[in-house]
């Protein structure tokens, strides 16, 4: 292989350089971009995409199954004081309830907890592209965990990738059917 490259004539090298430069110049004038203009254009996610989820407090029974099944130990069951004890005369009212709290920095979004929950107390969403300024913000408080985070793509365009024979990949704006 090395001998072969040595035998090449210098003229073929010059031809190769001119070819490379003209191809580069062609792309400089008429770029074939295959990347997404990310915050302005967002790819349409599949319906089973796993994003942030929230806890529905009324459905949760505090069984700790989500904590046990969590592979990255992101969920920790926490004791929380009960604000309004239930009016039940037969039993003494419980003073504490056990509720899961999640660390988004450790969560791998495997959704084992969502699947394992016997009362379907986690509400899933497709919101995934969220970052925080402080490390402590990655561990939401109980009240914050009851709400879904807002999607950062309010004004962005939803696009669908399409295979293009000339450019390789092309993004088309998603047309809403309804």
């Amino acid at each position: 292989m090395a001998e072969k490259s040595q035998k090449k004539s210098p003229l073929s090298d010059v031809k190769g350089h001119i070819g490379a430069l003209s191809t580069g110049f062609k792309y400089l004038i008429d770029p074939h971009r295959i990347t997404l203009d990310y915050p302005a254009e967002v790819m349409e996610l599949p319906s089973n995409y796993r994003g942030f989820f929230r806890l529905i407090d009324e459905k949760c029974i505090g069984c700790s199954l989500c904590e046990i099944v969590c592979p990255s130990n992101a969920i920790v069951m926490t004791q929380l004081p009960v604000a309004q004890p239930a009016q039940d005369a037969t039993r003494p009212p419980p003073k504490f309830k056990k509720r899961p709290l999640v660390d988004w920095g450790m969560c791998i979004f495997c959704y084992f907890c969502v699947d394992v929950c016997p009362t379907e107390a986690f509400e899933p969403s497709q919101v995934h592209d969220i970052s925080y300024f402080k490390e402590s913000d990655y561990r939401p408080t109980f009240d914050a965990f009851l709400k879904l985070p807002e999607s950062p793509f309010k004004g962005s365009k939803k696009v669908v990738p399409k295979v293009d024979e000339k450019k390789g990949i092309r993004y088309e704006e998603k047309v809403n059917k309804n």
Partner: protein, 341 residues
């Protein structure tokens, strides 16, 4: 205002003119303004060739041209960290020296026919070349002073490349000297005005000059010294804050002074425009030379998007083989063309 001008002794005027050239127009301030454009152009051109967007979100309407400004603001609020084992005095002061020395060659390169200053006009080519060739020595010292293996390897690579590109570069300059028969850059342009631009008279010398410039400034396929995927940032790796901005600007300023020299030596400088007076003799020729230099710079930084990086040994071998042969051919061609002229 006029009273103030009368107060200045007449003997000082060439000195003041030189200070103006070095600090304002072909010199420092023009370079700073140009650096914003050329760094943006380099990123954008490489991005377009490589099917990306490049800088876009800082002032989106203009295609992200304020990206460098944003970077500079960020640098200026960073902490300047001096590594523990660093040689303090060279480490702290060399970026400033480098910046000053990279601006200095523009002092000797004329941008108009009426270019008088305190330096001997008959040696402007020699002086500008001499001052451009000082910078690599400082770079080697800089890489040694930081006490970091990446910066040291980068400095060694600079030293290796230096001996391979300087000989063809000097030969290209020598062939230009042989072609025009003068070291006075104003006369060089007058000769080109009379006949043809130097790139037509001796295209081989122009090619060798450009290859040497790409090597000296680390553009295109020869960014071996900075090699960000291997050496992080070569000799400059330990710099942070505004000092990083300084050392990042040095190759671009070098590129600018080389391009200015190229536009005077081979593109005919201010050639099509010859006028008299303040506007026709000073402003318009300056702008024409500047625009030619900017076009050369754009063409050179565009190469970064097209070529992959050369290995060090291949670059050095090329420098001592075909680039060297081309330089010798350029010398012969100059000897022939100077008979014809």
């Amino acid at each position: 205002m006029m009273d103030f001008l009368n107060l200045i002794p007449v003997t000082w005027l060439p000195l003041l003119e030189s200070v103006f050239y070095a600090l304002v127009f072909p010199g420092f301030i023009a370079i700073l303004l140009l650096a914003f454009f050329i760094i943006w152009f380099e990123r954008k051109a490489a991005a377009r060739v490589q099917m990306r967007y490049g800088p876009l979100w800082v002032s989106k309407r203009t295609g992200g041209i304020a990206q460098l400004l944003a970077d500079m603001i960020r640098f200026s609020f960073q902490e300047f960290i001096v590594p523990e084992g660093a040689d303090l005095i060279p480490f702290v002061f060399l970026p400033g020296f480098l910046l000053a020395f990279s601006v200095l060659p523009t002092l000797f390169i004329p941008i108009g026919p009426y270019y008088s200053h305190i330096f001997p006009a008959g040696y402007t080519l020699l002086l500008s070349v001499a001052f451009t060739l000082v910078i690599p020595v400082y770079l080697v010292v800089l890489g040694w002073a930081a006490d970091n293996k990446f910066s040291f390897i980068g400095a060694l690579r600079e030293a290796y490349l230096l001996i391979s590109y300087e000989v063809p570069f000097i030969l290209a300059i020598a062939s230009a000297f042989l072609l025009y028969g003068t070291l006075n850059l104003v006369e060089v342009v007058t000769i080109q005005e009379r006949s043809l631009p130097g790139i037509i008279l001796n295209p081989v010398a122009a090619l060798v000059f450009l290859i040497a410039v790409i090597r000296a400034t680390g553009r295109g396929p020869y960014d071996i010294v900075e090699a960000d995927s291997e050496l992080v940032f070569g000799p400059y790796v330990e710099y942070s804050s505004l000092m990083f901005g300084f050392v990042m600007g040095v190759p671009y300023i070098e590129l600018y002074s080389y391009s200015l020299l190229f536009s005077v030596l081979f593109l005919g400088g201010w050639a099509p425009i010859t006028g008299v007076g303040f506007l026709g003799g000073l402003i318009i020729p300056g702008i024409v030379t500047f625009v030619k230099a900017v076009i050369v710079m754009c063409a050179l930084v565009f190469l970064r998007g097209v070529y992959p990086r050369y290995k060090l040994d291949k670059a050095v071998r090329a420098g001592w083989s075909w680039v060297f042969y081309l330089a010798l051919i350029a010398l012969l061609l100059s000897a022939f063309m100077s008979r014809v002229l």
